[in-house]
């Protein structure tokens, strides 16, 4: 099927009234939960996962896409108004966004973020529609060795590009891979690490794991933090809309952000975060007066917000075509697809065209709904922001507990949520990112299965991975990228010292 028929099929799916309503509901509750300080996109999707279980696959994914966009914008609202980024990709937004809010321009900041996100997302979706079928076609020839190396590359890249220490991220990823081995071995039927519990024989439930790690873990973390941070007052905002000057000032930033976001988003490993940083740096370089940055420059909001949304959209490419999630958010969406009985990968486009194109188009619809809703609803969400955390947190807690139960109607799953909530809290305290753990957990089975199948193919010869062209190239990448990163850091450090030395000499002379 060519792209155009595909896109039309997708619109047919998305424009069904039920799907539109679910997308709308998704955007609204995504924003509602995402606006709670501390709950980022991943946490929001994790908490709301149970809502989608009883829906048909295409509808479920459309709703998740809605939740995803809503949650992302919810995070922008808290970044701008409270300087509390929901996740790493909106950290840069806090720099100028919060300054704009302090100068009474919160409405412009929120408005340009919504418009930039819409433009970045739309262009990215067009790119995705054109590029995804090509990548999927290429990936059809992939065998177990390619998948083994690809999954491993994905996990390692996410660990090294993620926030926090790369070493600790890899430790977290190994823990995730180990958690994925819990349960019956797919090849031999032997039970592994089940602690003689019948409930663990089928493995750890994905939804319970993410709801605990991200949802409850955040609740605990907030509970602790509340004793240290005084509640901040959100500044008042009348409407999220921009003036003509705002648009003139930021349109180039939006254009640059779109391109940066789309390109970097395709790469595995926190594309959205990286692209928002790069976009911010690019805006600072392009600006006539860089000193405005950090004091409420609208380009400093427009560029990164556009870029992270464009990247979030293009990071669907590796997920939908290769079955490799590029970051923690995609890992949760991957898990949601698996729970629906759909395995993302190169065959998805032909096996489930309604899902594939439905997802792509629902992103666009999600973006439009977001743009329409963010203008009138921004006041409502700010009202929610003003509800004290000590009231919102217990309610979130209840949603998590009952939601976790409703997935499999199992009390055991609530225990799993509680256990992972505590683990998630401790991981954050000890500087381990939960993102790589979840990513490794969802890729664990794919990695182990393809690794063992490859060993059989190669008659136990490990060098087989290196002699096949694609897996060999990817394996080389695993070695080259970390080395290149370390080298780049060294060179930059040396240049920085050289510059300071030069400055000193200049001062002396």
């Amino acid at each position: 099927m060519d792209s155009i028929t595909g896109i039309l099929t997708g619109f047919e799916v998305v424009f069904q009234p039920t799907n539109l309503i679910y997308c709308l509901v998704g955007v609204v509750i995504g924003m509602l939960i995402g606006v709670l300080p501390g709950l980022g996109t991943v946490a929001t999707i994790s908490i709301l996962l149970p809502l989608t279980f009883d829906l048909p696959p295409a509808t479920a994914i459309i709703m998740i896409a809605g939740i995803f966009y809503g949650a992302q914008y919810g995070g922008t609202i808290t970044s701008v108004l409270l300087q509390l980024p929901g996740e790493a990709s909106s950290v840069v937004t806090t720099i100028d966004g919060y300054q704009m809010a302090r100068r009474g321009r919160a409405g412009s900041a929120l408005g340009i973020a919504a418009i930039g996100s819409f433009i970045g997302g739309t262009v990215s979706i067009v790119g995705l529609s054109l590029l995804a079928p090509v990548v999927a076609n290429f990936a059809l020839d992939f065998g177990p060795p390619e998948y083994a190396v690809l999954a491993l590359t994905g996990i390692l890249l996410v660990s090294s590009f993620g926030t926090g220490s790369a070493w600790k991220c890899i430790v977290a990823a190994i823990l995730g891979l180990l958690l994925a081995t819990v349960g019956r071995d797919l090849f031999t039927g032997v039970e592994r690490f089940t602690l003689d519990s019948t409930q663990l024989a089928d493995g750890i439930d994905f939804a319970a794991l993410v709801m605990g790690l991200f949802g409850l873990g955040e609740v605990f973390y907030d509970l602790e933090r509340r004793s240290r941070v005084l509640a901040s007052r959100a500044p008042s905002v009348h409407s999220a809309w921009i003036t003509k000057t705002d648009w003139v000032q930021s349109r180039m930033a939006i254009a640059r952000g779109t391109i940066i976001g789309f390109v970097l988003g395709v790469l595995p490993g926190g594309g959205a975060t990286l692209s928002s940083l790069v976009a911010y740096a690019a805006e600072k370089k392009a600006a006539k007066d860089p000193s405005e940055f950090g004091h409420g420059a609208i380009q400093g909001v427009a560029g990164p917000e556009t870029a992270n949304n464009a990247a979030a959209t293009s990071s669907f490419i590796p997920l939908l075509t290769l079955g490799i999630p590029a970051n923690a958010t995609m890992a949760v969406i991957y898990g949601a697809l698996l729970l629906q009985g759909i395995t993302p990968g190169p065959t998805l486009i032909n096996d489930h065209p309604d899902v594939f194109w439905g997802v792509i188009n629902s992103m666009w619809i999600g973006n439009i709904l977001l743009l329409i809703l963010s203008v009138p609803l921004v006041r409502v969400f700010i009202k929610i922001l003003q509800v004290r955390g000590s009231i919102m947190m217990p309610i979130t807690l209840m949603i998590i507990i009952l939601g976790a139960y409703s997935v499999r109607n199992s009390i055991f799953d609530i225990w799993i949520v509680l256990a992972f909530g505590v683990i998630g809290f401790l991981m954050k305290k000890f500087g381990f990112e939960p993102g790589p753990l979840v990513l490794a957990f969802v890729l664990g089975n794919l990695l182990e299965t393809s690794f063992r199948q490859s060993l059989r193919m190669f008659n136990g010869d490990l060098t087989g991975f290196l002699t096949r062209p694609i897996s060999g190239t990817l394996a080389a990448l695993i070695f080259v990228v970390p080395v290149a990163l370390v080298m780049a850091k060294r060179v930059r450090a040396r240049r920085a010292t050289a510059l300071t030395l030069a400055d000193k000499e200049y001062e002396v002379t």
Binding site: L277, G294, I391, L402
Partner: protein
């Protein structure tokens, strides 16, 4: 890593009040995964490794266990070089109490249904952990449980153990 604003808040921007923990925390951060790695390796060995051509159930977790041991030893040696641990404060005690209150809720759930433990759990979080007023402690839990009852049991048909039916 990139040329961004020097004032750029770290990704832990929201936690700038957190105090870095001492070297003991960094050692614990390495020793816990180390012990876990040793246990996994031991257990996987017991599951049988097989050969590279015919791997048994234990081979893959064994490899992971070994990797975990190697990485954790690195953590113990490198300590603070591998990032920052937050120290535990007086604020950490509510987390423990909070977790225990959830455990109590889960124990009570199959015995008496979710309504009464739900109200108690919410009230406990609001009053004891949140320091809210009595008025809120009375209104919010009852309102919430009523809404959740309608939503999960009556509307979505989730078979949560419950006391009352409408």
């Amino acid at each position: 890593m990139l040329d961004t604003n020097p004032q750029e808040p770290s990704t832990q921007a929201a936690d700038e009040t957190a105090e870095p923990a001492g070297r003991w925390a960094a050692i614990v951060a390495g020793v816990v995964p180390l012990v876990l790695g040793i246990m996994v390796t031991w257990q996987s060995y017991g599951l049988g490794l097989g050969t590279l051509i015919e791997p048994e159930a234990g081979l893959w977790p064994f490899c992971l266990g070994v990797a975990l041991i190697v990485m954790s030893v690195g953590l113990v040696i490198g300590r603070e070089r591998f990032g920052f641990c937050e120290s535990f404060t007086r604020g950490s005690a509510p987390v423990l109490i909070g977790a225990m209150s959830i455990a109590a809720f889960v124990v009570a759930l199959p015995l008496v249904g979710f309504e009464i433990p739900g109200v108690v759990l919410l009230a406990f979080w609001l009053k004891v952990l949140g320091g809210e007023s009595w008025r809120i402690t009375l209104i919010v839990p009852i309102g919430c449980v009523a809404v959740f009852h309608l939503l999960f049991i009556e509307l979505l048909g989730v078979p949560i153990p419950f006391l009352f039916a409408f």
